[in-house]
Amino acid sequence: MADMKAVVEAVRNGNRTLVLKLVDEALKEGVSAKDILNNGLIAGIRLVGDLFSKNEIFVPEMLIAARAMNAALEKLQPLLVAAGVKPKGVVVAGTVKGDLHDIGKNLVCIMVRGAGYKVVDCGVDCSAEKFIDEAKKNEAQAVLCSALLTTTMPYMQTIVTEVKKSGLPLKVIIGGAPVTQAYADKIGANGYGADANEAVLVTEKLLAR
């Protein structure tokens, strides 16, 4: 649809005002929220993710695109719920206990939402219990946790252990600047993403059923 192409472009350019305007117009013309979501917003974020993995755009542009998409998604949310549009899956996300950094985690939340998942953002300084409680409450399939400090990273081991103990069928996916695939393997995490885009790919792979 021509309209949706414009939405995709506006998302890619991070033009928040324009995205919201186009979404408004599309809704008025009778385009369904589901269509706008899939063919406009998700398609837009997909494009951004692809460009990022090809080193054609970088973090600053990804951040403004994600922000623009998120603003539109918030607007569509009530309509999607009312129309019974179901997300592809549910995940909980947060920064681990002791850590306050959240810009990267927020980007992951938006990108994973953009891939069609419901993301419950647990915030910062999250204990294992908080992750598990929220996961139970929302019937989540994965816990996405990030740490930005080498001093808070070790808590990820605790999260893996507690999730195993809980018996819940939860995948643990980790990320953050000091985190590596080797570390993920060492602590028995199910997946690792080096950046927000990889977080989406790993989530999709692990939750594909």
Binding site: N55, E56, P60, L63, I64, H101, T151, T152
Partner: protein, 564 residues
């Protein structure tokens, strides 16, 4: 034992900037016929480890010592010299020599000064021969009683700035306030890790704290102290006092205090305002060691001292102080309020994570411009360029916007003649990179990934500054002055900094490069009896703003990523 531990025990300083986590890949050595990472390889038997020079922390360290601010004037000197003629005993029967001296020296009430008996040994003879008596007093204690005809010896003290990357020692004569020598070098703790966080992690291991304490005191400060004493031709003279300025983590590690709490919420210190202690307790040949007090885990004595040194402790028109670094500290004085924040900018401005970034060593490009022939660069000491400093990156971004070869998000304009495509295979812990870059000197380039990291760094600083201004209800143009402290400011072009949106937009003449304010404050505390108390009082007044918890920080940060 890890190969990296073996090297350290032998006094060989490997570059372990990632804290020995196997990420930076700088500690490559030859062992058992293979190239391995020293920090990831255990030696299970005797053998020969060959270490290439490229795996060592560079020895030469250019410290722009001329960048230290002038020694401050002091209203209440800690050290005083008085010359007095003591009246003969029979003129004041019943009053002992010491009392007659005090009456003659101090009109009115004698201050509380004490004198150890062994110091008094010389007094009677001087009084009997009616000689002019010279008293040297430090912190209310008489250090010496001499005949004033004898040449006086300086009373030695050192002001020390323990930076995360650079340590500077300034030797002062406390009696006159004169600077006798100045020396600086790289903080040897860098061999354990470049960042504060990596050192907190290391300092939380059984032997890590002791190792870090020794790296700071014995391996970094002591050689600098000896260099200063040598230069002033005072080897072997007693050093009475030291005042240490530094961020809270550096202070904890120097004192051997466990830093673990500083690394996670709620960022708790062991002590923010330590009492004076003996130099012996920290491994230094100094009688007494003091620290400039801190306000919090991320607002250390270096920053509080900075506030004090530029006069933001007094009430006045709105002024801001920014110390750009891995954790950029931003302070705003409005009226009698002081707001403070720490913006995690990342190591980009210190060259960390960038393809050609690096610290102030010989060969660092400090200035950069574009002319009809291409890029023109200036380096420290005029030697061949090997890498780029923070200030030159700022120049590059400003030139890019001025000449139009960089977009607002730092993308190189297609068709820009001085850009080329490049490919770097995965390695050194980094994934494969492709894209475009500018070669600014032989073997030295800036690529779009570097630019992305620089924009994120500058976005954090600008966002932090704008949020403090917003909270105080003032606009950038209302700032009377913006003081830029720290090594980064040394070569910084303020016009370029505003042009790229690193510093808030304001009249350029109000931006002041103020040098090593931490050293200035430590010097004040060394000379002035009120300084430490006044700096400590400042700590209580700073209202710490936790940027991460501000609801508009993320939005502000994202807006600040682009260049005007």
């Amino acid at each position: 034992m890890l190969l990296s531990d073996v090297a350290l025990a032998a006094g060989v300083h490997l570059d372990l900037r990632c804290g020995g986590n196997g990420i930076c890949r700088r500690c490559q050595v030859e062992w058992e016929g293979r190239r391995v990472l020293a920090c990831q390889t255990t030696a299970r038997h005797d053998g020969e480890m060959r270490i290439p020079p490229s795996s060592l922390v560079p020895e030469e360290w250019v410290v722009d010592c001329a960048f230290a601010p002038p020694v401050p004037r002091h209203a209440h000197p800690r050290c005083q010299r008085l010359v007095v003629r003591v009246p003969a005993a029979r003129t004041q029967p019943g009053a002992d020599d010491w009392e007659r001296l005090c009456r003659a020296a101090f009109a009115g009430e004698a201050p509380a000064i004490w004198v150890a008996p062994e110091v008094l040994r010389k007094l009677p003879d001087l009084v009997e021969r009616d000689r002019p008596v010279r008293l040297t007093v430090l912190d209310g204690q008489v250090l010496d009683i001499e005949d004033d005809a004898q040449p006086s010896q300086p009373v030695l003290g050192v002001a020390i700035d323990v930076g995360t990357t650079t340590v500077v020692v300034r030797l002062l004569d406390l009696a006159t306030g004169v600077e006798l020598a100045l020396a600086g070098t790289q903080n040897r703790q860098v061999t354990v890790g470049a960042s504060v966080i990596s050192r907190i992690a290391h300092g939380s291991t059984p032997h890590g704290l002791d190792r870090l304490q020794k790296l700071a005191a014995k391996q970094t400060i002591l050689p600098l102290l000896e260099k200063c004493l040598s230069h002033a031709k005072l080897r072997g003279a007693p050093v009475r006092r030291a005042v240490i300025g530094g961020n809270t983590t550096m202070m904890h590690l120097f004192l051997g205090l466990p830093p673990k709490g500083l690394g996670t919420v709620p960022f708790n210190a062991v002590v923010l305002a330590p009492s004076p202690g003996s130099g012996a307790a920290v491994g230094l040949p100094i009688e007494q060691v003091e620290c400039v007090p801190a306000a919090g885990a991320y607002l250390g004595g270096d920053v509080l001292g900075g506030l004090y040194a530029v006069g933001l402790d007094r009430t006045g028109p709105p002024e801001m102080l920014i110390d750009v670094g891995t954790n950029s500290e931003i302070l705003l004085r409005v009226g009698d309020r002081i707001l403070g924040a720490s913006a995690a900018a990342g190591p980009a401005f210190e060259g960390g994570g960038l393809s050609s970034g690096g610290p102030a060593l010989p060969g660092a490009i400090t200035h950069l411009s574009l002319n009809e022939n291409g890029f023109h660069v200036e380096t420290t000491k005029g030697v061949a360029a090997t890498h780029i400093c923070g200030s030159a990156y700022v120049d590059f971004l400003a030139e890019g916007r001025k000449r139009g070869f960089l977009s607002e998000f730092g993308r190189l304009a297609p068709g820009f003649p001085h850009a080329e495509p490049f490919e770097r295979p995965a390695g050194n812990g980094q994934p494969a990179r492709t894209g475009r870059r500018c070669v600014v000197a032989k073997g030295v380039s800036i690529d779009e990934h570097d630019i992305s990291l620089l924009l994120q760094a500058k976005g954090a600083v600008l966002a932090g500054a704008l949020i403090l201004l917003r909270k105080a209800g003032i606009a950038p143009q209302d700032l009377h002055a913006l003081h830029v402290a720290g090594g980064f400011g040394r070569h910084l072009n303020p016009e370029h900094a505003v042009r790229i949106g690193l510093l808030p937009p304001m009249p350029l003449e109000r931006i002041k490069i103020v040098g090593n304010t931490s050293l200035a404050a430590a010097s004040s505390a060394l000379l002035n009896a009120q300084a430490t108390r006044e700096i400590g009082e400042l700590a209580r007044r700073v209202q710490v703003v936790e940027l991460n918890l501000e609801p508009d920080f993320e939005d502000c940060f994202i807006n600040a990523l682009s260049m005007p």
